[in-house]
Structures are given as structure tokens and as C-alpha cells.
């Protein structure tokens, strides 16, 4: 009996080693004309339909749009040769190139553009075309969009919506896209890998790689995967950025993906729904300013984010519409203390927390439970504020709860995409009403001058005009959000990757909000330099 069992065991071991031997080497030798990359699981989900929201963060592999966003984050023409905006800001007319073909050889026509926009508008997805009334072809080679109201960020919406071919748009389109972009799908194993190859009809800069494979790897196993040596680029969480991997180097890419806290600007009150909105401590401008100049952002980043990240001074750092004036330094503990004393916040009972008219200088802040980083930031902020005599109480709650109480209890928010509508959403007083439930302007900040600039910004007929007005809304030399401090911005997250030695990632446009996927936005310019 025992002999039989022993025989069985030996047989088992032999079979296993045979199998492992036969399966052989799996691409351990990276050929220079193909790449293997891991940037998260979304790219392998098989949903490549721009009408359903694919590519709205600017890294569509298969399609291009009428306009594009260049490395300075400004608008350039792409499928359109030029565009005009009417004086009332409600009609946009684009002239379409006539020399572009889809990846199946069919010519791009203006009708495809109209089809794309109408389909996207009714798709119930993240593509927001609520401002568009209609899209139509005019003069055989132009497309005209009529809006319900002036909306200058429309150019940004246009730049982030890829064009799909009307003739090839069927049920299975999401996993089999046919676009005017640099790549087409070679093979898709949903949930596992996406293999792409260059689109021979692409009119722009062709990639030097014959094949690029995207893998979906669980965040926790990404580091192990990097160490296996089979990948050329692996996105990892910043916690692992201090690890070393043979043959690869760590790169941290700057982003506009920020983290900060809203500071409610009105005193506490109860709204019609019985919810408490406003905050009696943060509604004092002296507290908001003291916090902004008194804490140390570098220290907070070191404690909460392992040192990986860039201090953030405003909501739009890194974007062309950021206004750095009047600017300030942080870590000014004495000046902050003086500010608070002057405003009447004094520590009368020696417990380290200031009081004013019987009210303690303390308030709760929340960090959402599904993103540990945010709670860590809340705790680090609290530590940094102690030196000023302000007691911040960090709490962790699920996102629904954080959102519900955000207008009374500040939460750690993050923004930063490629549209300057964010400036409007940050400061406009239309979001300030006590009964309004929205994340927009959760600081309940209102400044009539700022509103004036923002209203003019929306009605602007050119991007340059709109961007100038965005800057004025932040600071026009006299007043603005930059001196009222409705928020306290702490850090711009860095996206961290392990990159194979010798792989050059080209000039990276600043990454928007979201995980590390945006690194592929310029993948056609990546090259292997000689090692």
C-alpha cells in the first residue's frame, strides 16, 4: 500500500515538473519592440466606447477628438482644422479635416462627429453634454454645436470626447473600437490583458512599438509582479515607492490630483431639511488664514504619505488657470498665532486649545474610509495644527456620510481634471444656499466680485479670455479666493511607477485626478534608449 502511495507521489512530482518545464520561458527577455505594462484594471475592462465615458481623462488609445490638450494643458486642433465661437458664446463651429481614416480604412466624415455627440448625450454615462442643444453638419465639412447657454469650458468637453464611426457602431463596439487614434485592439481578454498594435491609418506620430500589452494586476500584487521582471512599467501605490526592483527605477510623476479640506465660511445654522450646515470656527477668516500659513505641508506629506507628494498652495496648482498671487509661505507658526490672538482666540484655561467668547477653537474633519490616504492626511493635519492652538478632530467615515455632512464637517476632497469648470465649481455662490446639497463649493464661499469674474468666464468666447478670468477670480490684486482661504490645500499626489531601465516616458503632461493610468497619454512618444 505504502509502495503504491510513494509511486503516486513520485508520479505527481514528475508531472508537475514536466508541465512547468514545457510551459517554458514567458517573455523574460523583453524584446525592444514590444511593451508590457500594468496601470490598473480599468483599461482591461473591455469598455472602449467614448460615448460611454472611455477616455474622458485624456488617454484614449483608440480614438482622437476634434481638439486635443497639449503638454502645456492648452487646447490645440486635432481632427478639426480650426473653430469659431459666436459672440454670444452659444454656437461653436468646427471645420473637420477631410484626410483622416478610421482603423478599418473608412474615411472620417462630419456625420460621424454628429453621431458621436448625439449618442454620447443620451448614453446616461459620465459624458456630460447637458449644455448642448444640438449638433449638425453644415457646409458639408463643418460641424456646428448649439448650446443652451454660454459655456466656455465646452472646448475641454470637446477635447475629451473621442469620435466613433457611425457605420461601425454596433452592440459589440465597446470591446472592438474602430477609431482614428494611434492604436487598435489586437486581442482582448477581459479582466486579464489587452494587447494593442499600431493603427496603420493614424495620421499622427506612430508608436515605435509593434505591440503593447496591458495587464490587470491587483494593487497589492503589483510590487511582486514588478520584481518578476516581466513588466516594463508597473503602477504602484506610493507606500511601495521606497522599494527597489532590479532592472527598474522608480519614477514619481507630478499630478494636478490634489488633496485638501473645505473650510465652511458661514456660521452654523440648520437648513430646511434639519441638517446642520456651516461651522462656527472655520467661518472666522482669521482661523482659515492662520491654518493655511501656520501648518507645515512638507511635514504632513512626510507623515501621512511617506514623503511622496508635492505641497499644494491652491486648488489648481500645475494648471494654466492657476493664479499664484499673492502667494504665501507656510510653517509661519508665530505669525499664525499672532493672527489668532488678534482675532480674539486666546487660550484662557491652559489646555492648549484657544477659546473665543466661550467657543473652543476646535472642529471635526473626516477622511473617507475607502481611501486610507485621506484619513492619514486628516490625522497629520490635526497634529500640525496643534502648535497653533487649534484642535482638529479627525474621523473616518464612509463616503456617503462624509458627503452628507461636508457643509458642517470638512472632509478631505480631491479634484484636478483638465477642465477649468472646476474654478466655477469651487467658488461660485450659486452652490452656497443652505439647502443646497452638493460637493461643489462645499466651503459655502461667496464673494460678489469673484462671482462676477466667474459669470464672465462662463460666457467667454475664447479659452484665453476664460483663463484670464479664472485667474482674476482667484486674485485680482485686491480680493479673491486666494486671500479668503475657503479651502486649505495640502498636497498634490505624485503618481509612482517602476519603469524598466532605459525606457523613456517622453514629456509627461501633468496627470489629472485618478490613479496612475494617465501615464500612457503620450505612449506614442515612448522609446527605449540604448542601455
Amino acid at each position: 500500500m505504502l509502495k503504491k502511495i510513494r509511486l503516486l507521489m513520485i508520479l505527481l512530482i514528475v508531472t508537475i515538473s514536466l508541465v512547468t518545464g514545457c510551459a517554458g520561458n514567458e517573455g523574460k527577455n523583453i524584446i525592444k519592440d514590444s511593451l508590457t505594462i500594468s496601470i490598473g484594471s480599468e483599461i482591461v475592462d473591455g469598455n472602449y466606447n467614448p460615448c460611454n465615458g472611455y477616455g474622458t481623462y485624456g488617454y484614449d488609445l483608440f480614438h482622437t477628438s476634434l481638439l486635443k490638450i497639449n503638454t502645456d494643458l492648452m487646447i490645440e486642433c486635432d481632427l478639426a482644422t480650426d473653430y469659431q465661437v459666436s459672440d454670444d458664446g452659444m454656437i461653436y463651429t468646427f471645420t473637420i479635416r477631410d484626410d483622416v481614416k478610421f482603423s478599418d480604412g473608412h474615411r472620417l466624415r462630419p456625420e460621424d462627429v454628429v453621431f458621436t455627440y448625439n449618442t454620447a448625450k443620451n448614453s446616461g454615462s459620465s459624458v456630460d453634454l447637458t449644455m448642448m442643444e444640438k449638433a449638425e453638419v453644415i457646409d458639408a465639412n463643418k460641424v456646428q454645436f448649439t448650446l443652451h447657454k454660454p459655456y466656455s469650458p465646452f472646448t475641454r468637453t470637446v477635447a475629451l470626447l473621442g469620435i466613433v464611426p457611425e457605420h461601425a457602431y454596433k452592440e459589440a463596439y465597446p470591446s472592438n473600437p474602430i477609431g482614428t487614434g494611434p492604436f487598435k485592439v489586437k486581442q482582448l481578454d477581459i479582466g486579464q490583458q489587452l494587447i494593442v498594435e499600431p493603427n496603420e491609418y493614424y495620421y499622427g506620430n506612430q508608436s515605435q512599438f509593434k505591440q503593447i500589452t496591458f495587464l490587470s494586476i491587483d494593487e497589492e500584487t503589483a510590487l511582486a509582479a514588478a520584481k518578476s521582471g516581466q513588466l516594463d512599467l508597473v503602477m504602484v501605490n506610493p507606500e511601495y515607492a521606497k522599494e527597489t526592483v532590479k532592472g527598474m527605477n522608480m519614477q514619481a510623476i507630478k499630478t494636478s490630483d490634489n488633496r485638501g479640506f473645505n473650510l465652511p465660511c458661514i456660521p452654523e445654522t440648520v437648513n430646511a431639511a434639519g441638517e446642520i450646515v456651516g461651522n462656527n470656527v472655520t467661518s472666522d477668516p482669521a482661523v482659515r488664514k492662520a491654518l493655511n500659513i501656520g501648518i507645515s505641508r512638507r511635514e504632513i506629506i512626510d507623515h501621512a504619505l511617506n514623503g511622496i507628494g508635492t505641497p499644494s498652495w491652491g486648488r489648481f496648482d500645475g494648471m494654466p488657470w492657476a493664479n499664484k498671487e499673492p502667494g504665501f509661505r507656510d510653517g509661519q507658526v508665530e505669525e499664525a498665532k499672532a493672527l489668532l490672538e488678534e482675532a480674539g482666540w486666546v487660550d484662557t484655561d491652559g489646555d492648549g486649545i484657544r477659546e473665543k467668547n466661550g467657543l473652543k477653537c476646535e472642529f471635526r474633519v473626516t477622511g473617507r474610509t475607502d481611501d486610507l490616504q485621506r484619513y492619514n492626511l486628516a490625522v497629520a493635519l490635526s497634529e500640525s495644527a496643534k502648535a497653533l492652538g487649534i484642535n482638529i478632530i479627525p474621523e473616518a467615515h464612509d463616503w456617503e456620510t462624509c458627503k452628507q455632512i461636508v457643509r458642517n464637517v470638512p472632509t478631505c476632497i480631491g479634484t484636478g481634471d483638465y477642465s477649468f469648470i472646476d474654478v466655477y465649481n469651487a467658488f461660485h455662490s450659486s452652490y452656497v444656499g443652505v439647502d443646497v446639497v452638493s460637493l461643489s463649493n462645499s466651503a459655502m464661499y461667496s464673494n460678489p466680485k469673484v462671482d462676477g469674474y466667474l459669470d464672465a468666464m462662463i460666457a467667454a468666447t475664447s479659452e484665453n479670455e476664460a483663463i484670464e478670468l479664472c485667474k482674476k477670480a482667484q486674485y485680482d490684486g485686491d480680493t479673491g479666493a486666494n486671500v479668503d482661504f475657503p479651502y486649505i490645500w495640502i498636497v498634490n499626489i505624485d503618481h509612482t511607477y517602476f519603469v524598466r531601465d532605459g525606457l523613456d516616458l517622453g514629456i509627461q503632461r501633468i496627470h489629472p485626478h485618478g490613479h496612475g493610468a494617465p501615464v500612457i497619454q503620450n505612449i506614442t512618444t515612448w522609446t527605449f534608449t540604448d542601455r
Binding site: 514567458e26 517573455g27 446616461g124 456630460d128 500584487t221 456620510t401
Partner: protein, 328 residues
């Protein structure tokens, strides 16, 4: 009506009741969870306007009352339409079919592994009670059943895939290879580590259970009689032991179907294996109601069938139960 037919109808009825119960419970749990599917779908902090958010809610039927949504779902289900998954933007039925087959391969291999290996180890260990081998096996099993399977999965991955390079780091097919060129052996190669990780949960149960049963059998009177007749230990086990412990072992095996399903969620995530488990965790994170309901029903049927087979086999193996039923 023939008793067999009656029995079948009763079983079918019980299964339908189970499915109804599971679907209602799942529905209530998902609805009361703090995950807002619109936020999960759009991203919590995008600059999408409130108007568009309302459009999304209406498009996916998210703004109706819970009762209405449940009844709509049931009506569609009876027509064979399980709805659209908001996570994968595909019909739920399609997702279930492709992923269930993948998971099935993984789970059957793991199940066979834990069953066969567990049984063998259990018998050996029980027969050699008190020996160093037995002590070793016991410790091994206790350690295994107390450690989380995903941790073991990660360890296996780090050791065999990263350090030694014997196995791939995940997936069901080699990286960068066209599916037309993938061989059967390669598929098996990719299956081994995930199957092994998944079998860990079931193995220690089986080993310890079998071991105890063998020890019990070896202490009975009829075995004492056999020993007195001069039979050696291994013949006794073969003749008297195996048959007696076969059906508890088999019942245990079939009942472990439910654990398999739960364990597959973790194993599949570690190895990026595209089965129902990874779909389930993605759906859970996004509050994807149709997909969650679909998977819940799928797993309920799966477990029910497993237990049913165990019941039937019990009857087949054990004449007492079979005859007891007939005499009624």
C-alpha cells in the same frame, strides 16, 4: 405520484424558495449599503453636472423605489434578461457565462486537489497515529486553517513566481500571447498556483476529519476482530476503513462547495484570474446591483446543487438510509 417524482418536485420547489430568499436578502443588503452606484460609476469627485448625474440615475433606473426596482428585476429575469452590468457595461448573462466557466475550471481542480490530497493525507495520518508524520500533518493543518488564504496566495506568488520563476504571476493565459497560440499545457500551468491557493481552505478540514474517522474505525470491535484474525493494518484499512469513512468524506467534500466560492474571490484577485470571484469584488465595490444579484443567484444554485448531490450520494452509499426511505 411516484415517490421519486414527488421528491424531485419538492427539491425544485425548495430551490426556487431559496433563490427568492437569496435575491431579496442580497437586494436589501446592497440597497442599504453606503455605496452610491452613481458615485462609484462616475467617480466621486468629477466635475459632472448635477443634471448629468440625474440623467445617469434615470438611465440606469437608480431613482426608483426599492420595491419597484426589485419587481422590475424579477419581471426581466423571468423573460431571461438579467440586466446590464454598470461595472462592465455588458449584459449580466454574458458576464456570468464566460466567467463561470473560467471559475468552474479553477474550482474543480482545487476541489479535486483538496479532496484527493486531503483524503490520502488523512488516511495516512490516522493510520500512523502518534508518529512524527502524524504530528507533522496535524501541525500543518492547524496552521493552514488558521491563516488567511490570500496571505498564503501572496506567499506562494512571491516564492514560486517571483523568486523561483517556476509559475506565472497570474492570469489564465501567458502575457502578450495571442489566444490562438496558447496551448493546453500553458493553461494548466497558469491554473496550478491559484488552484493550490484555493484548495488550502478545504484541505485541512478534510485531512483532520478523515484522520479522526480512521482512528475511530481502528478502535471498533470489528477491527479488533480482524486484527485477531491476523490481518495487517493496511489490509484492514482497505477492507473496513475506507468504505466506512468514504461517505462522511464525500458529504464533507460536496458541502465544501460554498467555501470554494468564497475562497475563489480572494484567490482570483491575487492571481488576476478572470473568474466570478474577481467579478464579484469589482461589482461589490461599485454597488452594481444586477451583477451582484446575478452572481448571488449563481452561487446559491451552485451550493444548493452541491449539497443536493451530497444528500443523494449519502443515500446511495449508505443502505440504511436508502432502505429507511423506501420502507416509509
Amino acid at each position: 405520484m411516484k415517490p421519486i417524482l414527488k421528491h424531485m418536485i419538492k427539491t425544485l420547489f425548495r430551490m426556487i424558495l431559496l433563490l427568492i430568499g437569496v435575491s431579496i436578502l442580497t437586494f436589501i443588503l446592497v440597497i442599504s449599503s453606503p455605496i452610491d452606484p452613481i458615485d462609484a460609476y462616475l467617480g466621486a469627485e468629477t466635475n459632472v453636472s448635477q443634471e448629468q448625474r440625474d440623467n445617469v440615475a434615470e438611465h440606469w433606473g437608480l431613482n426608483k423605489s426599492p420595491v419597484e426596482r426589485y419587481l422590475t428585476w424579477v419581471t426581466n429575469l423571468l423573460h431571461g434578461d438579467m440586466g446590464m452590468s454598470i461595472t462592465y457595461q455588458m449584459p449580466v448573462m454574458q458576464i456570468l457565462i464566460t466567467r463561470f466557466l473560467a471559475s468552474l475550471t479553477l474550482m474543480s481542480v482545487a476541489w479535486l486537489l483538496s479532496g484527493v490530497l486531503g483524503f490520502i493525507l488523512g488516511v495516512l495520518s490516522g493510520a500512523m497515529e502518534g508518529s512524527a508524520f502524524d504530528k507533522g500533518v496535524k501541525i500543518f493543518c492547524f496552521v493552514l486553517s488558521s491563516t488567511p488564504s490570500f496571505w498564503i496566495g501572496l506567499l506562494l506568488l512571491m516564492l514560486f513566481s517571483v523568486q523561483l520563476g517556476w509559475f506565472p504571476i497570474g492570469f489564465s493565459v501567458p502575457i502578450g500571447k495571442l489566444s490562438s497560440e496558447v496551448t493546453f499545457l500553458e493553461r494548466v500551468h497558469h491554473l496550478i498556483l491559484p488552484a493550490f491557493t484555493l484548495s488550502i481552505t478545504g484541505i485541512s478540514n478534510m485531512v483532520l476529519h478523515t484522520r479522526q474517522k480512521i482512528i475511530d474505525v481502528l478502535n471498533t470491535d470489528y477491527v479488533l476482530f480482524a486484527k485477531a484474525r491476523g490481518e495487517n493494518k493496511w489490509t484492514i484499512i482497505k477492507r473496513h476503513g475506507l468504505r466506512n469513512i468514504a461517505f462522511p468524506a464525500i458529504t464533507l467534500q460536496f458541502a465544501s462547495f460554498s467555501e470554494l466560492f468564497g475562497g475563489s474571490v480572494l484567490a482570483e484577485n491575487i492571481f488576476s484570474y478572470p473568474g466570478l470571484g474577481s467579478a464579484l469584488s469589482a461589482a461589490g465595490r461599485k454597488g452594481d446591483l444586477p451583477l451582484l444579484l446575478g452572481i448571488a443567484l449563481c452561487s446559491a444554485i451552485f451550493v444548493f446543487v452541491g449539497n443536493l448531490i451530497a444528500n443523494l450520494l449519502y443515500g446511495i452509499f449508505n443502505p440504511q438510509i436508502r432502505e429507511g426511505g423506501e420502507s416509509r
